[in-house]
């Protein structure tokens, strides 16, 4: 399996830029294993990313890779997918990238149900710029820009995606790497907009400041706080308060955007007799 | 400069004046002349002041805006108040007296006609008052021929409204015939 993962990496780009204990590599590996399992032709596979630590992942992958501007990965990806629907497009974003500066693109990609698979690396912080709070930093936690504790409520990415119209929504943590891989596979197979939230650790920018220990201890925190969808069904809201529900959270049916546009083409050509 | 005619069609948004300007310019082009149509409107799509300008010339038209019009059509009181004084001496001021009750002092020759009212009563739809006005304007000035104007109207209106619009044009020419004055060369 390792060699299969390696074959999709631009290993000449290593060592990577991520800090010791960072979970981003685990998400990257899960994505590569998922693409391997999906059997996608690397030449027809596109990985688009935004700006931030996680978005550097695109550069390490031996596919058609596009590292865009902050927050805009989904908009670039929309252009690629609409222009060439035959390409398989994955979009890698961080939590701030996807839901703060890119929040508008996120809800509209979901609303269109365009066939993209979005993977959000949620480390609860802006890591690359050194630990400022993001829309996913839990209330009360500390960040360089919230030295007295964060007073903002955080988004629930899954609820946001579902409410905006995504047709596949799932969540896993880097501790549950195998589950993450399976969820990415299922998301990619969904003909529509799929969102997979990957809870990942940033020991340097977030964990240290919030006394969560090193990378390993943060992985164990993920293990302790994660409950599966099935377990969660039997728990009270009170019991679920500090838990992370993992697994397939939502599956829906809706027309896919590029398929709908194909119908527009047929209608237009019929009308104009072309 | 070669012989040039300048038209200003003014009124309220929704009266179809820009379409009328486009049709007039289209007709001129069909006659092998040069034409420019420019417009100005308020931000609201309906009800605000609206103005279409058309320049028809045998020669090249550099400056695309009307300087001093030979012909002004005013289909609202506001438009009449604003533009009646800015007509070339001896030019034509065509007034829709359905809406223009006070005709301002002007050095132009004034033709006050119940354009919107007759569109409503004789064609059945006030909406086509712009086409009636075009018929009057062409009938009075001879700027474009009736045949090319008909062609131009047909090329620019929605399908299914042909007979309504041709009837409106006919009414316009008929109203113009009651005045036998031609625009001076």
């Amino acid at each position: 399996m390792l060699s299969q993962v390696e074959s999709h990496l631009r290993s000449d780009r290593f060592p990577h830029i991520w800090c010791p204990g960072c979970g981003n590599g685990i998400v990257l590996a899960a994505l590569v294993r998922a693409i391997e399992e999906l059997g996608y032709d690397p030449d027809k596979t596109v990985v688009v990313s935004g700006i931030g630590c996680s978005s550097r992942a695109a550069g390490y992958l031996d596919f058609n890779t596009l590292h865009t501007t902050h927050g805009r990965a989904l908009a670039f990806a929309t252009g690629i997918k609409l222009a060439r629907p035959e390409l398989e497009v994955f979009v890698l974003m961080g939590d701030g990238d996807a839901t703060a500066i890119g929040g508008n693109h996120f809800i509209h990609a979901a609303r269109r149900n365009i066939d993209l698979t979005a993977i959000i690396f949620n480390n609860s912080i802006y890591g690359m710029t050194g630990g400022q709070y993001s829309p996913l930093t839990p209330p009360g936690k500390r960040a360089t820009t919230a030295p007295y504790g964060n007073i903002e409520r955080s988004f629930d990415i899954a609820e946001l995606a579902k409410g905006a119209g995504a047709t596949y929504v799932a969540r896993a943590t880097t501790y549950h790497a195998t589950m993450l891989e399976k969820l990415i596979v299922a998301g990619a197979r969904n003909k529509g907009f799929s969102v997979i939230e990957a809870i990942t650790a940033c020991p340097v920018g977030y964990g240290r400041r919030n006394k969560m220990g090193n990378g390993l201890q943060m992985l164990l925190w993920q293990k302790e706080h994660a409950v599966t969808v099935k377990q969660a069904e039997k728990m009270s809201p009170e019991e679920l308060r500090d838990k992370i529900v993992i697994g397939e959270l939502y599956k829906g049916e809706a027309p896919e955007y590029t398929a709908m546009y194909q119908q527009v083409i047929e209608r237009a050509q019929k009308t104009t007799g072309q | 400069m070669e012989e040039t005619l300048e038209f200003r069609l003014s009124g309220s948004g929704g009266q179809g004046l820009i379409l009328a300007g486009v049709i007039l310019a289209e007709a001129a082009i069909r006659e092998g002349k040069n034409a420019v149509q420019a417009q100005s409107y308020g931000p609201e799509a309906r009800g605000g002041a609206s103005k279409a300008e058309v320049i028809i010339s045998e020669g090249e038209i550099d400056y695309p805006k009307v300087v001093l019009p030979d012909v002004v059509l005013a289909m609202s009181q506001d438009a009449a108040d604003k533009y009646a004084v800015r007509v070339k001496k001896g030019g034509l001021l065509i007034i829709d007296n359905t809406y223009v009750k006070n005709i301002p002092a002007t050095s132009a020759r004034v033709y006050a006609l119940p354009i919107s009212r007759l569109a409503r009563e004789k064609v059945g739809k006030e909406m086509v008052a712009n086409i009636v006005a075009l018929g009057i304007l062409a009938g009075l000035t001879g700027a474009v021929s009736r045949r090319t104007l008909e062609e131009a109207v047909l090329s620019r209106i929605p399908r299914g409204t042909e007979s309504l619009n041709l009837k409106a044009l006919e009414l316009g020419f008929e109203m113009a015939r009651t005045f036998t004055v031609k625009v001076p060369a």
Binding site: I80, H105 | V36, G42
Partner: protein, 387 residues
């Protein structure tokens, strides 16, 4: 619907001409956001593109529109977007991305009165500098400026061609007057239209360096999905496309981005002269203002004044050579523009004090008149007589 072969004289709007020109040049993707006075371009693209098997999408904002256009172009489809000043500002970061990653794309800016929301329906030429320097950092860009409906068609084609040839964002800088006016046009036959395609790699994928330039300074470009798997980033990158902070790589990349445009000024820059041979006073004007200037020059000539017009068609790179050349033979230059002197500064820079330069400026949301330009010409002529 008109076929691609258009030879009959027809009444056409400037914005419509942009669409027809873009389609003739092979544009098959449009992403945009509605904004006055450019919206007709989006509306007509929405109707025309799918009929040609192309794609139109109305994005959630201006930023996303620019991003989608770049994405589509990278996927191998010629792409264009249209906007006006406020939207143009929002697009700037991604225009910079396109300049850095060398992704061909065309941005139409139908200028309106600003700053801010200003007068959305009124013409102005206030974005001359934004078009050149709107995005951060040093970056190359080409800006073309049509003065008629027919030229809007021709320059839309040229914008697409230059963008593909040099892998650079090209801005078609219109104004409300040219965008909205309708006039008689006779368009060239489809087969007379020169269409340039981007240079493709001729090597095997393993030997492909996506940012290794050819002799012209422009690297061959593979589309995503064609078997050349490579990395595209807005970070400083080496010839492989991989990010680096190496000062030497950074400098040579930036210099190449400039060189690929500035080494080809003969191809990129064009101006139109009118009555320049014996002109003593010359008006420099572009876009709609050039229409007023031409009439002013005609009337000045009729009054016995030796006036001429130099109209930059390419305004960036600024036609420095062509303007400098004027300085040797005219008595005075009048720059007529609908801003407070954005291009006048460039004219002054080009003539280096060898000839007087003055401005005729109108910033009230109306087209600059030929009368005010004519009176400036008369003043100069009178000064010359008395001096």
């Amino acid at each position: 619907m008109m076929s691609d072969v258009v030879e009959m004289a027809r009444l056409m709007q400037g914005n419509e001409a942009v669409v027809e020109g873009a389609l003739a040049a092979g544009v098959r993707f449009y992403a945009g956001y509605p904004i006055t006075p450019s919206t007709e371009i989006a509306e007509l693209m929405a109707e025309r593109l799918p009929a040609l098997g192309g794609k139109f999408i109305q994005m959630e904002d201006e930023i996303a529109s620019m991003a989608a256009v770049i994405g589509a172009s990278l996927a191998g489809v010629k792409a264009l977007t249209a906007t006006s000043g406020p939207g143009f500002s929002l697009k700037q970061e991604n225009i910079g991305f396109a300049a850095m990653a060398e992704i061909p794309c065309v941005i139409v800016n139908v200028q309106r009165w600003g700053p801010s929301t200003g007068i959305p329906t009124a013409p102005a030429q206030g974005d001359v500098m934004q078009a050149r320097w709107g995005t951060h950092g040093d970056h190359p860009v080409i800006v073309l400026c049509p003065a008629s409906v027919r030229e809007a068609y021709l320059l839309a084609i040229r914008a697409v061609n230059l963008s593909e040839k040099y892998r650079v964002p090209v801005i078609l800088l219109m104004d409300e007057v040219i965008g909205h006016m309708r006039e008689r046009v006779v368009l060239p036959r489809a087969k007379e239209v020169e269409v340039i395609e981007r240079k493709k790699p001729s090597v095997e994928p393993k030997d492909y360096y996506p940012y290794r330039p050819g002799d012209d300074g422009v690297p061959p470009m593979a589309s995503f999905g064609e078997g050349y798997r490579y990395h595209v980033t807005g970070l400083v990158h080496d010839e492989k496309g991989n990010p680096t902070t190496d000062p030497q790589v950074a400098e040579s990349l930036l210099l190449r981005l400039h060189r690929k445009i500035y080494d080809h000024l003969d191809d990129v820059v064009s101006v139109e002269g009118y009555q320049l041979e014996d002109a003593e006073v010359t008006v420099v004007a572009y876009g709609a203002a050039a229409r007023s200037a031409k009439r002013a020059v005609k009337e000045a000539r009729a009054a016995g004044i030796k006036a001429g017009l130099l109209r930059p068609v390419t305004i960036w790179p600024f036609p420095e050579k062509e303007v400098a050349e004027l300085a040797g033979r005219v008595r005075h230059i009048i720059v007529a523009e609908m801003n407070l002197g954005q291009l006048k500064g460039e004219v002054e820079r080009a003539v280096r004090g060898r000839v007087g330069v003055s401005g005729v400026n109108r910033v009230n949301g109306e087209l600059i008149t030929f009368e005010e330009i004519l009176s400036a010409i008369r003043e100069v002529a009178l000064d010359a007589q008395s001096g």
